[in-house]
Symmetry: C2
Subunit: 214 residues, 2 copies
Amino acid sequence: MAKRTGLSEDAVAQRALALIDADGIEGLSMRKLAAELGVSTMTLYSYFPDRAALLDGVAQAIYAQIDAPEDAGGPRETLRVLMRGVRRVLLAHPHALPLIAEYPPRTLAALAFINAGFRALRRAGVGPRDTARAYRALAAYSLGTAQVEINGYFRAGEGPAAGRPESEESSVEVGRILPYLAEVGPLLGELDDAGEFDYGLDLTLDGFMGRHAT
Amino acid sequence: MAKRTGLSEDAVAQRALALIDADGIEGLSMRKLAAELGVSTMTLYSYFPDRAALLDGVAQAIYAQIDAPEDAGGPRETLRVLMRGVRRVLLAHPHALPLIAEYPPRTLAALAFINAGFRALRRAGVGPRDTARAYRALAAYSLGTAQVEINGYFRAGEGPAAGRPESEESSVEVGRILPYLAEVGPLLGELDDAGEFDYGLDLTLDGFMGRHAT
DNA sequence: ACCTGAACACCGTTCAAGT
DNA sequence: ACCTGAACACCGTTCAAGT
């Protein structure tokens, strides 16, 4: 690509990620990013055809941060380690999460952690198709968990954890219409995020291992 | 709020949702929405303080479409029906999914389906805390599933389902570096979305029921 | 009191020009 | 060949003015 600037696609994507971490996706403009890198705005277009391609590149850079663990202690433990790593990396870049949801892993470095997940199941004797099915369920759960954690679905006093709609009806009224929400909702906010992630992961793994008794 | 226009917050949000369904979130501008509604751009600001509040309103309108099923056939079946309904509504508005991820349910109508989920578990004798924990895991899984389905994570030939990085390395090279991806990835694209959603849901429910043998 | 047009401070991207 | 400034066609939101 560009020759004189001394930049690379990855260098541009990394700087874009830093700006997103600081100011959010809306805070990243082609103009600001170019200024940070000391080039003209239009020079960015020699690395990425448009802003969407740049954002895809940022997503790939994040995926590449996820560890691909070696097998140790059986597939169940390897998958637990892998998915905890997924969660950790996603939580490290909360403003970038919409990009993870939108752009699937695509580059070699971005796909390495998935290869590790498949390997753990295949080596344990799980067939290719059941490996795909189990991985799919675990990946959806891990991505969904990052979403609800980052966006405060279950944070005390917000969303369903409030146990009542925001400033619309009186709490008394709500307790009558949505009594189970009023009772259980506030408990959502008291749960420990990391512990609950493991809990849900274990539920799925329990279910899977129950069907593939080894 | 505004008196002369004959509009309401909900009417504005519903029209915004229709525009998003057609053109995506980026395709929704305050100017275009106002023109659709036959009012000046600034009139919208008497219903919502800014664009973010409008998008939150769109999310609430979507949550309100999710059915809150009565108990029938036990908690397991009720939760299955509930979560299938969540998936169905989210898939009906693919362009709006980022709003669901960003804005948790907040209004009375938007929270009704959660009350139904809590009710199914509480009536089955599950304690308030375990109800919160189980619901959290199921909600994260259902949201994550909608994300990966809509964004083609597992669609044949895209993302990990391609089994190879996009136009970077030769397939031969990749089969050597990420052999499990090359073997299992393509199978992801052959799975049936609705069936796989039920599969992952059942894994979690199996795990949960195994711990709460009734 | 209620609504609005013009203006402000931004965007992403096209394109013709500069070296 | 490689890079860029100006221009184009948009944005969300502020604000002073109109009825």
